[in-house]
């Protein structure tokens, strides 16, 4: 081991690094941004879950019960419904994760000592299911509240029943496998196209191509199409394994599953292309891909419940294609929802794809300067 030679390598590496601006930015950027973001965002103690409420009794007592449940902070009311059926449709669409149903005979049930309310939970997210259980602990007075002094009240637990739909056994595979389709597609698809243009630039193919009548759109769209097929093959493999090995149900239509996957594939390929027009080397393209991949996994709701994140981070996560895909795929596979019921997420993915594709085509110049 020669100290001078060793030092020469160290100095050379540092010099090269200094000239690679993006890598340098990543050296500082990855830890700072990701740590701050995830430190605040990842919160396994769920609060403020979107809830829908049906209060068919609409008495002072039933309103007080609902207020008590809201006071726990576990749920936040986002929708009112008239019937439990309406509430279940909201859950299927993914509009709310939890439903609170107070039946018309609430007062009688309260006096009889029967269950006075029911909580409907979207069991396709096991974390939501666990959080909802807290609502069952809200105390119920057996008599009308104005009849007795608060100090002598004897709250009784277990008077609120809970029904978990879609994954009552809380099997985590059921929750994870559909999401895994999205994670795997995000990881592979972005990288495929992120490298596509840079590689040709590095190998010198690009100078040849731009001197031909080939247009930017032809090049960009042509680079995307073959990978759509590859992505759909990947989707099929995961679906097949998920069904055979983990008995993950596909309650909705298989066509919808493929349509949703196709949308995510296109969104990711378009994002990859945009990265590709920006990156100077394949290494930089991989770094940028990773920079997008990590938040996708952590913020989309795949690993940690979306509902548990601060509003600001939720808005940020709305930009990630995986967030929308997760809602779609869980809706279709686990809750039997149709894609059209979640059209907002379909639209988000389509808009994202078009925007990224347009940016990539605009950014790509058929010039060397």
């Amino acid at each position: 081991m020669n100290g001078r030679r060793l030092w020469a390598i160290v100095v050379k590496e540092l010099r090269q690094l200094r000239r690679d601006r993006i890598t340098l930015a990543m050296v500082v950027g990855i830890p700072v941004i990701q740590l701050v973001l995830f430190g605040y965002a990842i919160n396994t103690n769920l609060r403020g879950l979107d809830a829908g409420i049906v209060d068919q009794a609409n008495t002072a007592g039933s309103r007080a019960l609902v207020m008590d449940m809201l006071a726990t902070g576990v749920v936040a009311p986002v929708a009112q419904a008239d019937t439990p059926q309406e509430l279940m449709a909201m859950i299927r669409r993914g509009q709310v994760g939890i439903g609170i149903v107070v039946p018309p005979d609430f007062e009688r049930r309260r006096i009889d000592g029967r269950a006075v309310a029911q909580i409907l939970v979207d069991g396709s997210d096991t974390a939501v299911q666990a959080a909802a259980a807290q609502l069952m602990q809200v105390p119920i007075d057996s008599a009308a509240p104005d009849m007795r002094a608060p100090a002598t009240s004897t709250p009784v637990g277990g008077r609120i029943s809970m029904v978990a739909f879609y994954n009552p056994q809380r099997r985590s595979a059921v929750n994870i496998v559909p999401g895994l389709i999205g994670v795997i597609l995000t990881m592979t698809m972005v990288l495929f196209t992120a490298i596509a243009i840079v590689r040709e630039r590095e190998r010198g193919n690009m100078e040849l191509l731009i001197a031909t009548p080939l247009t930017s759109s032809e090049l960009m769209i042509g680079k995307v199409l073959p990978y759509v097929a590859i992505g759909l093959v990947q989707t099929s493999v995961i679906l097949a394994l998920g069904t055979w090995l983990f008995a993950v149900p596909i309650l909705g239509s298989v066509l919808d599953v493929y349509l949703a996957s196709g949308l995510l594939i296109l969104a990711n390929l378009a994002l990859g292309l945009l990265i590709s027009t920006r990156a100077q080397s394949q290494f930089q393209a991989m770094q940028m891909t990773f920079f997008v991949f990590l938040p996708s996994i952590l913020l989309s709701g795949f690993m940690f419940p979306f509902a548990g994140m601060p509003k600001l981070v939720q808005w940020l996560a709305e930009v990630l294609p995986l967030t929308h895909f997760l809602r779609l795929i869980r809706g279709v596979m686990l809750r039997g929802a149709g894609l059209w019921e979640m059209w907002l997420d379909v639209l988000a993915l389509a808009v994202f794809t078009l925007a990224m594709m347009a940016l990539a085509i605009l950014r790509f110049r058929k010039r060397l300067d």
Partner: protein
């Protein structure tokens, strides 16, 4: 498409390109006649590639006007692309595609009609001697074979104008000779070729050439015209100690360049000549030295042109 007025394929006036502070190409005027092999001679970094890239519309000039095949560049660059072939300095075909696959791919990209593609590709494979290696991956070809394949791909769509950027820099002399045969065949068939090179023997083969030095056009003409200007100004010196003779001659006023070629020195003087002074200088070395006049070659032209330019700059 017409090749502009008076059979001129390329016309450029005041062509300039700056990269930051560096002036890579400095007010170059060019007239490239159609159906000829036109050479761009110059050392590395003299602006040959930058000029070619501007002419085919890949780089936007900082200043100046370009007309190629009657089209204004860069404004009409898209229209131009189907009429030109461009062979880049670095091998730019797909190394992980086979010979035939590369040709078929470019045929589609260049818009060769589907019905004609197979015939055209077969024809090129035959002409460019790839009959026995149609399936071989381009990345595994030798330097000369790669060059041939690149040329075949550049002429696939039978362009009117071919830009070749240092096409034979990585090729042995044998392959280079074959390659130039192909270029002349193309010129005979009516193609205009613009070839950049830093090799004198290649420059000599061109019908006409321009010499570039540090971004400026320093000489322009047929090889014969260019060498004729130096008639009477080139000499050889035969001596036992060429190194000493070279040192002695370098100090003589009027001597523009002294280069050692084996045991012989090649001397270039300015227009006034300096024979008596040179004889005197050689005598001081204490060795026998014979000074003889010799016909000028392109290297002399190059030295004379770049030297004059350097003096003007100084």
């Amino acid at each position: 498409m017409n090749a502009g007025a008076e059979g001129v394929a390329i016309r450029a006036r005041g062509l300039t390109r700056r990269f930051g502070k560096l002036v890579a190409v400095d007010h170059v005027d060019l007239d490239v006649p159609a159906r000829r092999v036109y050479g761009f001679l110059g050392p590395n970094g003299s602006g040959k590639s930058t000029t070619i890239r501007m002419l085919c519309g890949l780089l936007t000039p900082s200043e100046g006007e370009i007309e190629v095949l009657g089209l204004k560049i860069p404004a009409q660059a898209d229209e131009l692309r189907s009429h030109i072939g461009y062979m880049t300095q670095k091998f730019s075909l797909f190394e992980d595609l086979g010979v035939r696959e590369n040709l078929e791919f470019l045929a589609a990209i260049q818009g060769v009609p589907k019905t004609k593609t197979k015939r055209r590709v077969d024809e090129l494979i035959e002409q460019y001697h790839f009959g026995d290696r149609q399936r071989q991956l381009a990345g595994t070809l030798s330097g000369g074979q790669k060059q041939r394949l690149a040329l075949a791909c550049a002429v696939l769509h039978e362009p009117q104008l071919l830009f070749l950027d240092e096409p034979t820099s990585a090729v042995d002399p044998e392959s280079r000779r074959d390659f130039w045969e192909k270029l002349f065949e193309l010129a005979d068939a009516g193609t205009t070729l613009l070839v950049s090179t830093h090799l004198m023997d290649e420059a000599e083969r061109c019908h006409r050439l321009a010499i570039l030095d540090r971004g400026a056009l320093v000489a322009d003409g047929t090889p014969r015209e260019l060498t004729a200007q130096l008639e009477g100004r080139t000499f050889t010196v035969e001596t036992d100690d060429p190194r000493a003779a070279q040192r002695a001659l370098a100090g003589v006023a009027g001597v523009l360049g002294v280069a050692q070629v084996g045991n012989i020195l090649r001397v270039l003087t300015d227009a006034d000549g300096a024979t008596p002074d040179m004889d005197k200088a050689l005598a001081t070395t204490g060795h026998q030295a014979a000074l003889t006049a010799t016909p000028p070659n392109l290297e002399d032209v190059f030295v004379a042109a770049t030297r004059r330019d350097a003096e003007r700059a100084a």
